[in-house]
Symmetry: D4
């Protein structure tokens, strides 16, 4: 800023030019801090995830490569078959570990020498039906990358609330800090779980359901209307957001 | 129809005139049947209810009077104070019994000599909160006018699902044929009840709730999305409809 | 619970450990009852249905097999061609009866030695148009599995309310206990039927219709707004729910 | 336009000035035609109506006075008590006829020497319930101001489709050219009427109804989804629009 | 009805049986009138149209054949290629005339000996863009089948309101009785036309448009909100309904 | 259960009676556990709050009194003036402490001998505008009743995101465990805060805003769409839910 | 930042403490820039406006007073009578000029010595109906405070698009840089104006209109769907936003 | 008009015929002006764009050819592969320059002898994510055809607000007159940019996002609710509209 003012005094630049440069200078300063912010954020352990949807395989590859240079690992979500093949072809070798989660549509690529640091947070994930599993798996991989222990309990085909009690009891015994509950349709499961446990519960509405309230809207509304204290919500199908929030909470509790 | 055609042939009327009269004749015939239908309906025991909202007190009075002539009783719903005063002033005498339900905003006026015929149907009504009670009371009065025994269980001020179990158990012991469950907010109670009993359950969404899903829309969606077989739904705050349907079912089961 | 407290007194476990175990114990107790509830529900005759949508053929096969071990029959709904082929290939043999309902997308597999117990309930199903038939067939198969006699009347191609009167009259003569009416578009048929008969009517909105009110929303709203007492509603396209509720009512009336 | 170009050539104005004037000239020309259009429109018989809502009594008075100068009559709709008093006070004298329709919230002020010209169109207006009457009355006054004969049939308090047949038959006998049907709630009446008569039917959804589809939205959707040919729709509560369209059609048919 | 009562008196049937038969009798009577109604309706000239969507080719063929037996013509709308081939294969011979409108997805099959009776109604159809044409063509074919003369003016590719004036002027010269205006996007064209002509205008919202108000909802709202008297509306893409209503009006005006 | 079976064997009751009693027994068992659950929940520190809206002053008084007997404190939310007067009149004496929060519409009544147990959780509350303060105060009182330290920063009248930085910095210095951010209008503040801190953030949409997205819907959508990890949401205006969840998290972190 | 690190090295603070302080430091830095931004913004000429709605008169007074100290003027919008009286009482004296715009609900208080600097931008404001005027007046006052010349053309009571042409022509002659068009109902006027002029047009939907598309939603959708290039939109009733944007554009064009 | 009246006087035509001709004459006059308007509009530099969606390749070709005759260039948007091939095949020769923008789905065909006239307006385009780029490119091509200089800054794969500061600073240094900001999801970027720069900002909501607020609706609402003065909005994905408005503003500012 000083330089600009000096140039102005020395009549090297006009007032209009100086005004323009001062405005640009202001924006750059904000930008510098914004960049710092990003680095700090990364340091706290929420990894950036490459959302592959609507990118070409080549584009995904380039971003992954650039990530691996600075961070020793890279996470890709919502990939398609073509993108997956390109990645497998490139990184399936002695230098990298590839974790391919086909259900959750997440790939984790890690330098052989690297491992996610354990943080001691313990998070439970419960699903109510088959269609909830991909979103649950997305949450699981984020949680693992943030150093949490994850205990999952997925329904494997038939509706029935009674199936959740035994694994929920196990979760409590193991000392979970947070429980993520994925549910579509009428979305009542997160409220039920929140009334049974005394740890925070994160509800993830799933884009199932039909007729009035279809595509997860019914589940979202039920969770928002629920009277159970301790229940918080993220957007429909937002497994990444639920996982990141749960990890933040669980790891701090574990300290 | 014959007369019209005869007049046509006798050239008493023109073809255009005949056509016009035949059309009118057709409509009148349909109307005759429609009228018959109304009488039959009344006979089966669903009473016509005078919806007082947006009528002047005088207008309500006239309709009530005309009803009392042909039927020995009259039911008024959603009345206001002014309408109520007019009715009390007119009918509080030796000829009539007045049942004034201020919570449900229903007045029943009966000839002293008249009583609703007992039908043996037993219906339970459960509410989840304070704001559900007016609608529940509306249902109750219809049920009683249709000859049913009614067992009610209303929450008296504090949220808590545990309060419904004991009265629900009582209802089962007494042999309820149908259970009506009124619920606003997230509207999960009807689904819970439907999973505990093996009689049909009628869910009535109540226009409470706030934010996303306010005014009963959240409750309606939850009930429609619910997986519990045996659960059916009527429109938001439709106590009259729920009561009439429950009575139809319960009285037939009781036979 | 006693054991945990004893261990605590004997100092075998810490207070924290005891608290954790007591919480888990509580959840397990609720779970036990929830499980009992499921068995009771099954006993009352509402069969669990395997919703095949978004499952792999292998997964469907495994669930079907596990069902057949404990129950002698299995019902699969909303299947696709690949799932169907897998099932036909596996179960089309001397041990099983296969009922494949391609319109309703329902398959019933039964042990040759097994038959659904007759319950004497009689249910009528009426559809207003071609696109209503799959949902009607879904309801029909559930009704049959719950022991009901089913009388159907499907429109076979041309709009026209006059086509329903003759079969409706037949249904009444045969003594139907409940009528299910499937309707899309403006969805007025259930209200018309409810005004003509004195048995309960279950309206099923169908996801047809176009423009404002498309995908069954118009039909659902009309049914909810309808003034006809005796009309109850389930969610759009919910043939299973309508069938299960109708069977519950009809079988109890038939007793 | 010529003058502008001439001034430009004579260098009385600059090119920029000429451009600006040419643009303004264009807009004025369009405006001239637009004004002509308005006079022509008035001549065809659709009167301009002064929508009083959100105007001060003084403002309404001024507009009315200016109308009366050029047209010998003036129509005010949706007035409040204060506006009405002002008008009555001013125009209740030997020079004017005042027609005050308190139900429809319409006032017609006419020079004693003036009468609306008879046009021979005959229009029927049918309402399904009490809350439909104000809108029906609004339509009626417009129709009368456009020279039509109007036959009304208003329900006076109790639901029941059978009440419309007899007056509908009368309307047909009298040779109605168009029928306007006002209906709230599930809004099925216009479709029923359209299936019984062979003249065009204009459906007016009324802002009654409750729960899902409240405020006339359910009625509007039902009318739009209706399969009955011959049924057209205007916006919720738009009595003025329905009346004006009906008069246009009826008067041309009557010629 | 008499017979039933006689049988009851003669004790050939029980009271219960009689009650059941009387109810069925009532429904059959209503049905008889409903059937008569259908025949009358057909006679007034609104032809029944076979909506081919979601029917098998064989099913379409059967309905068409049954229609041709009683009526000498048959109209199929919204057909697909497979259905079209089946129809062409069957009816392209010396006995029938085939009119295949590929834009409007309408096929008219007529007995060589048959022609639609001329009714003298004249209807104009105006479209604002390319995507409006299929719906306009649907309206056109119905109008022709109902004996109207049709004058169309379709935009052939570029937006621009100025293109409608010249053909609209032609329509007025030729004496159109009604104008149908199809418009998507912001849907203002019907209001503009209604302000320029003094005949009724039927607006057909078209399911184009994007973002907020997409799929014709924006166009529908604009037409309903429009202040132009003389404008009435049908549902989005409802070319059939617009055509049938326009023909009813135009043919009566032409008389 | 044993007794029922014994009575059955001893033929004291019929099979039907036994079945009915077993069903009732089952429901009572579930109810027992549900009751236990309620006591456990209270023990964990989420106090039950008496939602005063739509209750009579007398009714509120009775519930409060019954609470004070068993718990030594009572919290009333969303009260009106009449209810407040009744409470002040009754409890403003030597036995009780009254904390009346007129902004948040919350009253806390405590036995003089009683104090909420300190739990060491620290929670920050930030608001973006004036209309957010009542909801923020509701959250604050719950937090205090659950033993948390609360740091608030409320905007006092003028929009401007710059005002939040200094208090946010203070909150971080003091070691907040969770930040609650209340925001209406476009609702971006919670996302901004979540990108600046590394503790969990709970967004509370406030029912302000106008036009498209009014009544907090825009704010809710923005928060759900936000990409910031660590951000969770409760329903519009749900100060109680946000406070209870924040306390659960903060107190566990503080341990 | 340096100091914190130094203290850490000197072991005056722990690592945990240092981390906490660094985070706080970062937030403060962002805050500093944010504050600078606010000052810069004010300098560019968009004045901060005190939104009086939901503030007490005393609160409004305090904010106004604090503004007047640093800026020599203050603008209050959406005030009520009580707030207005308080302001008049306080500032109606020799030191200040008070401009009270009762239609637009805006008060401008200026030091006698102060005047808004003229910027030469010229902006036209056109309204379609009575209910658009308050919003137009709000825009006008902002424009004047930002130094623009404003030319208004308000409809004074009767619908009719022809009334806008003459003043629009005047605006063009006077060289307007931007035109703001306020419109409710079907909201077509902004599109019409945008097709007549070659300067940018800002459409402001007004919260009038009824039925489907009520409260300005129809007008907003029409403006967004409009094909006219040069038309941009702000939220419903957002006169302030439209005025500020128009001034920014007009003043830059005038330079 | 005179001729018609003369013919009437000379009794060459009847009164009815004259009336009809006068009406037609009026419409033609309006049409003439409308045509003039179109030519004027084109002259101001907003080019007409051929929206290829839902047109056959042959149809597109014909329109393009007709445009090239009168204007020396032609712009096609939203083309598909088949349309593109047809165009390339026809116009890739010595007479024309072809600019094919596959990202933005825009083709510009220019006579070799023709170039868009430079207008000196400078416009910046900023996108927040990958899916915003096609719409941004659409805006860019329109801007270039209207003679503007365009500076773009597209995110190339990873979320992060910090990436926009540096290019935004560059834009300010280069003196942009307007900034277009495309954003989906929660859509906050346009508000952020508007708070950093003092030139007008046009927000373009992009049809990305998921769950509640999907398909750009969340982004649109956020932009409309934003408090930042200087921010205006166009419809979701409307790159063409944003580009045309920006060019109008920028070119006038540059003068």
């Amino acid at each position: 800023m000083k330089n600009i003012l000096k140039d102005l005094i020395d009549e090297k630049i006009s007032i209009e030019e100086a005004e323009k440069l001062l405005k640009a200078d202001h924006i750059e300063n904000v930008g510098e801090l914004a960049k710092l912010d990003v680095f700090r954020k990364t340091r706290t352990g929420v990894p950036e995830v490459i959302y592959a949807q609507s990118k070409t395989p080549q584009m995904v590859l380039e971003i992954v490569t650039s990530f691996l240079k600075s961070k020793k690992f890279s996470i890709i979500s919502r990939y398609n078959e073509e993108q997956k093949e390109k990645i497998v072809e490139t990184f399936q070798n002695n230098n990298f570990d590839l974790i391919i989660n086909d259900l959750g549509k997440i790939i984790v690529i890690k330098d052989k020498s690297f491992d996610f640091e354990k943080q001691n947070g313990i998070v439970g994930i419960i699903t109510a039906g088959m269609s909830d599993i991909p979103v649950a798996e997305e949450a699981k991989e984020i949680l693992k990358a943030m150093g949490c222990e994850v205990i999952t309990s997925y329904d494997i085909g038939i509706a029935g609330i009674h199936r959740i009690f035994s694994p929920l009891s196990d979760m409590v015994k193991k000392g979970v800090h947070v429980v993520i509950v994925c549910a579509g349709m009428e979305g009542t499961l997160p409220g039920v779980v929140a009334s049974l446990v005394d740890v925070p519960v994160i509800g993830v509405p799933i884009s199932s359901g039909y007729g009035l309230g279809a595509n997860g809207k019914g589940a979202l509304i039920t969770m928002l209307q629920s009277c159970s204290p301790g229940l918080m919500v993220v957007n429909i199908d937002n497994g990444f957001g639920a996982g990141a929030s749960a990890a933040l909470i669980a790891n701090k509790m574990a300290k």
